[in-house]
């Protein structure tokens, strides 16, 4: 059983700056962490490693600082970590990211039975990369997986949560699943794991190693362009009630509630 986990590095804080020219995020100088949801994806893989002796590869595209983040995944128990890093990849949108990741899988002959990714990343919040990656490789996909039920010879059973139902699906492998927080409780790294990871190496490849052409990569290869970034100021004129006026405010609120409660259908 071979598992591929897609993991993204995201900035740790919400104090992010934007490049005024390209409209993309300036990632330099920010503390980087693994996308929190991807930790749940990795944890699910680690559980399957324990129960089914799975081999885990973690794949990421990102700046060189991602190496530290990937090292942490080795410390947690991943067997192999691969970083795709090149200035040509900078500014990738979801199409260019998925393309680069899927090409790397082909070019590097990365083997997998199951691919696990997070439902979405906390920075871009698009939740598109996993699905696009899978479709570029013609893999079956189950999104919004809330529970991993079982692993059989050549298939998995998972529960997916959608608006109106919990659906249980049986999927022939290879396949990709994107997971919600509830699939697993991430473990903390241990000292022995950290020591052990020191002897392992994060493999790093650039565009040339992968034989990829610049036209398809990074900002150049991205169909979308950010044209404007702005602050929203949807402020309102607030009528404040406090102290001895409070009661008047409460009466005002009651009046509004009575007014609109009639318009309700249930």
């Amino acid at each position: 059983m071979k598992i591929l986990v897609l993991a993204k590095q995201v900035p740790d804080t919400d104090k992010v700056k934007i490049d005024p020219l390209t409209g993309t995020m300036i990632r330099e100088g920010l503390d980087a962490v693994i996308n929190p949801l991807d930790l749940h994806a990795l944890e699910l893989a680690l559980c399957l490693k324990e129960t089914h002796r799975a081999q885990i590869t973690v794949l990421s595209m990102g700046p060189m600082s991602t190496e530290m983040v990937l090292r942490d995944t080795l410390a947690l128990g991943a067997d192999r970590a691969i970083l795709l890093s090149d200035s040509a990849f900078a500014g990738s949108d979801t199409w260019a990211t998925s393309y680069t990741l899927s090409e790397a899988v082909k070019k590097l002959n990365i083997e997998y039975d199951l691919v696990i990714c997070g439902e979405k990343a906390t920075d871009g919040e698009t939740g598109q990369v996993g699905v696009e990656f899978a479709v570029l490789l013609n893999l079956p996909v189950i999104t919004y997986v809330s529970r991993f039920v079982s692993l059989q010879n050549d298939s998995i059973v998972v529960e997916r949560t959608v608006e109106d139902a919990y659906e249980t699906w049986k999927v022939r492998l290879p396949a990709l699943i994107s997971v919600l927080r509830s699939v697993s409780e991430p473990r903390l790294p241990t000292l022995s794991g950290k020591k052990m990871s020191l002897s392992k190496k994060v493999e790093i490849y650039n565009a040339r190693d992968l034989g990829l052409k610049n036209n398809d990569l990074g900002l150049t290869g991205s169909p979308t362009r950010v044209v404007k970034v702005y602050n929203t100021k949807l402020s309102r004129n607030c009528q404040l009630y406090m102290g001895k006026d409070l009661n008047q405010g409460i009466q005002e609120v009651v009046k509004i509630l009575k007014n609109y409660k009639g318009s309700v259908r249930r």
């Binding site: 919400d14 992010v16 409209g23 979801t94 199409w95 906390t122 920075d123 919040e125 698009t126 939740g127 598109q128 990369v129 699905v131 696009e132 990656f133 479709v135 570029l136 079956p140 996909v141 999104t143 919004y144 949560t161 959608v162 608006e163 109106d164 139902a165 919990y166 249980t168 699906w169 049986k170 999927v171 991205s222 169909p223 979308t224 362009r225 950010v226 044209v227 404007k228 970034v229 702005y230 602050n231 949807l234 402020s235 309102r236 004129n237 607030c238 009528q239 404040l240 009630y241 406090m242 409070l246 409460i250 609120v253 009651v254 509004i256 609109y260 409660k261 318009s263 309700v264 249930r266």
Partner: protein, 316 residues
């Protein structure tokens, strides 16, 4: 042509058709509704909001599974060639649209909260970015279709009617490596995006037990209870109740924010509500900047007073 894709005929579909209509008038093009789903779907009440409704129905399309839907939709899109393709940002839209974008080698903007077209026909796709701190407008200059998923409740339903033709496309049935083995209906418990009055609670309620007063108020006014992420993280409410960037967008007639600080990520999900009422004991809390009425007071006891007045009056 501007296309709208969905696997059901619901309010989201109508909202998107309304926006598609406005944009179609601006660039003088047609509106096409692509409906893919179960044989039971009836389009009579929606078809007149589009020039053309393309139906892809099958008894095997009761529940969404990616490839059967993808292959059929892709075929229809290559046939009708919309220059803009929209879908609601539901679990369906957020799965089918990236899959289509990958096959069509085009761009896709997730979770837009506003859309417009410029006179060159560029779709201006606006969404909150960077943790809700700013809004970003994104275009897809050289690839077609230009694709976007749109947060439910971003637009209102419009009355404009169109030609209303309907065409049925033949379905390609294919073997699916995904098999649905069980389905358990879920209480559509927290319909916060449907309610006309939303009573939302934040950490300022201090204890889980205290949130019962918000549920009581919501019940009295036939509303729903919303929550901040802090409160959801503390397991006071399930994620269905979360309002904001990583929760739902709501647009009720009345939004009550009780004990909520007003972080940008929360405001991203409620700022288009008609009337906003904030209750916070800190008169400098940011939530007051986006409120119409602010009560500087303890959240619990204020909600309690409001409930008491409403109850007394309904008894009388």
């Amino acid at each position: 042509m501007i296309g709208v894709v969905n696997n059901q005929i619901d309010k989201n579909t109508l909202e998107l058709l309304g926006k598609a209509n406005q944009m179609a008038v601006k660039i003088q093009t047609q509106v096409c509704l692509f409906i893919i789903g179960s044989k039971e779907l009836k389009v009579d009440h929606v078809k007149d909001y589009a020039d053309l409704t393309v139906l892809m129905l099958s008894e095997n399309f009761g529940r969404f599974s990616l490839y059967p839907f993808l292959i059929n939709l892709e075929k229809a899109i290559l046939k009708y060639r919309p220059s803009i393709l929209l879908s609601p940002a539901t679990t369906f839209g957020r799965t089918i649209m990236p899959a289509l974008a990958a096959r069509l080698r085009t761009g896709l903007t997730a979770d837009c909260t506003d859309l417009d077209v410029d006179d060159k026909g560029n779709l201006l796709q606006t969404r909150p970015a960077i943790g809700g701190n700013v809004m970003a407008t994104i275009i897809t200059p050289n690839h077609r279709p230009q694709m976007a998923t749109v947060r439910p409740r971003s637009f209102s339903v419009q009355p404009e009617k169109r030609e209303g033709r309907v065409r049925i496309e033949e379905i390609t049935e294919l073997e699916d490596s995904c098999e649905l083995i069980k389905i358990e209906k879920r209480e559509p418990s927290a319909q916060i995006d449907q309610a006309q009055i939303v009573v939302s609670v934040g950490k300022g309620l201090r204890r889980k037990e205290n949130t019962q007063i918000a549920e009581k108020l919501a019940q009295l006014v036939s509303g729903a209870v919303g929550a901040t992420r802090s409160v959801v993280d503390a397991k006071w409410f399930s994620h269905d109740h979360q309002v904001g960037l990583s929760g739902k967008t709501v647009k009720p007639k009345v939004y009550i924010a009780a004990g909520i600080s007003g972080a940008v990520q929360h405001i991203a999900g409620m700022q288009t509500s008609e009337i906003v009422i904030a209750i916070n004991k800190d008169r400098y809390a940011p939530i007051f900047k986006v409120a119409d009425i602010g009560l500087v007071a303890d959240a619990y006891s204020t909600l309690e007073q409001i409930v008491k007045i409403l109850e007394d009056e309904s008894d009388a």
